[in-house]
Symmetry: C2
Subunit: 199 residues, 2 copies
């Protein structure tokens, strides 16, 4: 009963996470009925971000800058590097305020069946960085507590064994099978302070 | 900590109804990390809809066509016209399948303090239509059961008193399948005062 352009807008909104048919409908009509300036702003913001946001040269965080703010920030601790799966994890850790070092974002986790190996996760780049930057003395592996996250952590531990590093795995607090981005800041703080060396 | 374009995208997503800071963040990163083709599709759909969707000449429903599908549909009953506040109401009624007549969408409700009077709601256009189209014999007022919706219904009833029409107001009260204890006091009051004899 709706016109083609409205139906297409509703369908397109459904690619947003957590948006079902009913809320997509509500969003589309809200934009068209009451929020055209906001809708235009969203169009422009989407277009700019999709065309210009890439990954930080150093840490692979999402950014439109060559080097992201976190890597540029001179006040951070160069001694510790925390490896996470996704940009959402960086945000979660930053919002908890429990970590002041540097990051490396894998943009995934090892998943051979999906064709995601060390290369896709930038692991050669990470290993070179750990080797070439002697200021880094501690590596914190904060991949998710899932099977694939654990496999990735294990791989990383083995691949860095020859380097003079303290390697730890983020520990207590993250529920097994849970994903970092859905964990509250308190739990994250606890998990980070309770990290254990990986033997 | 996020780059300007990502922050702006997160802010822009918050104009969507029901989207708070946390889910806007998740949406933005999801689009940038995993759903760029979907994001581009959404950009195009938004742009087209915002530029081309206007209102149906006859019923004021949202559509990019001069006359909407519902008004064009020759199989519908020309005898009954249902007046609603918003396009969402048309969709709700259509999805219930309980009405096969025509619609008129006010795109609001009387609200003098906000400068919304009969003119803004297209009431002169509606009255002309009711006068000029003798096929219409029944007017159903389906504005919301709010103070403003009731005031709008009252105005409409008075404005159409001279016309040879059956005018009805949709019933309000405890929703079917609803339990009394979960219905708000206002609804209960209304339901009680609107009680009808059981034959
Ligand atoms: Zn960076
Ligand atoms: Zn129409």
């Amino acid at each position: 009963m709706l016109s083609p352009l409205i139906s297409e807008l509703i369908d397109a909104l459904r690619i947003l996470p957590g948006v079902g048919p009913k809320s997509a409908q509500r969003m589309a009509l809200h934009l068209l009925e009451r929020q055209r300036p906001g809708g235009l702003r969203l169009t422009k913001a989407l277009e700019s971000a999709l065309h210009r946001v890439e990954h930080c040269r150093d840490c692979r965080m999402l950014t439109e800058q060559a080097v992201c703010r976190l890597c540029q920030d001179g006040s951070r601790d160069d001694g510790a590097l925390c490896v996470v799966e996704s940009p959402m994890d960086v945000i979660a850790l930053e919002q908890s305020g429990c970590f002041r070092g540097r990051y490396f974002v894998l943009l995934g986790r090892l998943s051979p069946l999906d064709g995601i190996g060390p290369q896709e996760l930038g692991l050669p780049q990470l290993i070179s960085r750990l080797r070439d930057q002697p200021s880094i003395t501690e590596l914190i592996i904060a991949t998710n507590a899932t099977v694939e996250g654990e496999a990735t952590a294990h791989y990383l531990r083995e691949a860095t064994r020859a380097l003079p590093l303290t390697v730890s795995r983020i520990g207590h607090g993250v529920p097994m099978g849970g994903e970092l981005e859905f964990v509250d800041g308190n739990t994250l703080t606890h998990a980070l302070s309770g990290r254990r060396p990986v033997p």
